[in-house]
Point group: C2
Amino acid sequence: MKRLAILGSTGSIGRQTLEVVRAFPDRLQVVALACGDNVPLIREQIAEFNPSLVFTNVEDVSCLSGGTQHLSLKEIASHPDVDMVIVATAGKAGLGVTLAAIRAGKKVALANKEVLVMAGKLITTEAKTNGVDLYPIDSEHSAIWQCLTGEDKEEISKLILTASGGPFRLKTEEQLDAVTPEEALKHPTWQMGVKVTIDSATLMNKGMELIEARWLFDVPLSRIEVVIHPQSIVHSIVEFIDGSSKAQLSMPDMRLPIQYALTYPDRWESPYRQEIDLGKIGLLQFEPVELNRYPCLRLAMLAGEKGGTYPAVMSAADEVAIEMFLSKRIRFTDISGLVAQTLDQHVAINEPSLEEIIAADAWARETAMASIGVAE
Amino acid sequence: MKRLAILGSTGSIGRQTLEVVRAFPDRLQVVALACGDNVPLIREQIAEFNPSLVFTNVEDVSCLSGGTQHLSLKEIASHPDVDMVIVATAGKAGLGVTLAAIRAGKKVALANKEVLVMAGKLITTEAKTNGVDLYPIDSEHSAIWQCLTGEDKEEISKLILTASGGPFRLKTEEQLDAVTPEEALKHPTWQMGVKVTIDSATLMNKGMELIEARWLFDVPLSRIEVVIHPQSIVHSIVEFIDGSSKAQLSMPDMRLPIQYALTYPDRWESPYRQEIDLGKIGLLQFEPVELNRYPCLRLAMLAGEKGGTYPAVMSAADEVAIEMFLSKRIRFTDISGLVAQTLDQHVAINEPSLEEIIAADAWARETAMASIGVAE
């Protein structure tokens, strides 16, 4: 029985993680649930999964079940009853708990992008020091992880991340200017949270995944590429030094990479698994990525290459830009400009501490907001 | 330094194996070469690679280099100076030497289809008994092997072999009747020997690969499928019980699977490696295989399912049929009929010995020839 702490249980990944648990009641046990403020949903989840540990961001927790113990996120992440911590919280909240889980020697399944984007070096160094494995929950990184099973990392020649290209792949520059938040929130292949959906439309999401891959697999960014694959069936590809490539394929369903992280190194037969019938699918489509069309991707590559506090600044400025776009203060095509402008003003710190990363994040938010005349 | 015996060095696979050796002179050493009767070529090979052991089928070997020792195939396959035996001989000649190599505890790299088609159970049982690994040299089986690295065979749900579909994929039944040997010998993606090229056009080759895969990976035929993929870039696919699939991709070049068998579990950077640029390739095409178009594939599935001496009979009858087609005694579309007719007349033996397999082969040749009025 694997004992799980699911941090961010009311979000998209958290809910799908619980679907996986539901499919394997004899092998997976939820010992802890944590959410922000979606009390109605976590109350249902508590009733169904009966965790002994709970955290919510709301102060009055008297409404929750009496049998649960209320602890902080860090206490949950390092609790002796927990075998694996699933970090599915949004934003920088994941940073501290991930570190706490690593220091407590827990297995960590990472669905939170910011953790490795903001603090990749810090986190992976701590993981190595503590002998902790980081398991990616993300279709692309899971694909690479699966392709690397049994292979020697020294023999990697390239990682190739696939990108759906987002909903605006075929729009002209002019059409992009006029994109509304409603349009941007419709992703062609994946059902995801709001921020990641916009990030998928700008390909900032793919840029962040490049940075994550760099840290997860210890491969320099110069050897990580992106190819557009609108069908989201091939989830990523690893090319080896002998010229052989391995790709992982599956129908787009986040439950599979979630499940793989929970069951690794084993694979379990799930009720929701879907076969791929390539004969029926007929064509797998690929296109080169045009960096001109996706300035956010280029910014992420640049920030990742520079390292230090740059990626944290990029991530924070992007979050502000998306909020501004969703509240219709800036256009879709202004998102990259706001991020670029913030990065330009940043005086970076190399090898930053957690505190310095958090400070850079705060600085970036303030700076981005100020630059479009919004006070925080 | 890996010390190799290359049996069938003047054939297509043998010559390409020597190209691999040529690329890694410090890591691979040819200690033995063997061929049928292509004395001019093996003489060149001996001059270049300086093996200490040689076999040819011609009686007078005085023309060969004086420094080499002339031994039988079995003596070479079990010689103490040999680490790995590459069985790239054509036809049933591979059977005895493969057994000899296995019994001598050598690593065996198999490029000969007949060995596992005719005697899959016998060979894999002997390999298991002797703790010997069989390494496939074949793009499809190498692909499956690579996809299974680090995976648990118990978690395989399906093996999916890709097939180019041969040069006649788009021809009508009527057009197929009129196909000439010259047309059949033009394969769209691979440069191969004569028999395997015709077998690729009828998909008998794919049928034989199904049977080989059944034995190599210990997966029942009912869980091995074929999908048409005319580009020969995706070399095969493994689907796992969790719904995840892994595919191996590379540009069509036999040197890669040959090299992988020689370097396993490592991968070496070769001068001839080609990158795959999926963005440029654009589309990977797949089609379901229509068994009606490919009666030879259906026959192979049937013979493989029945087991015993059936696959040996099928293989022998197919060889006769191809000879008859190449000498224009029968039409392309008659190949499957001749094989089917021979299988129909066969009284099979279950769990046959090597001698019984050889006898079934001889019976099948005689019967197939007799049925079209040709004496052996």
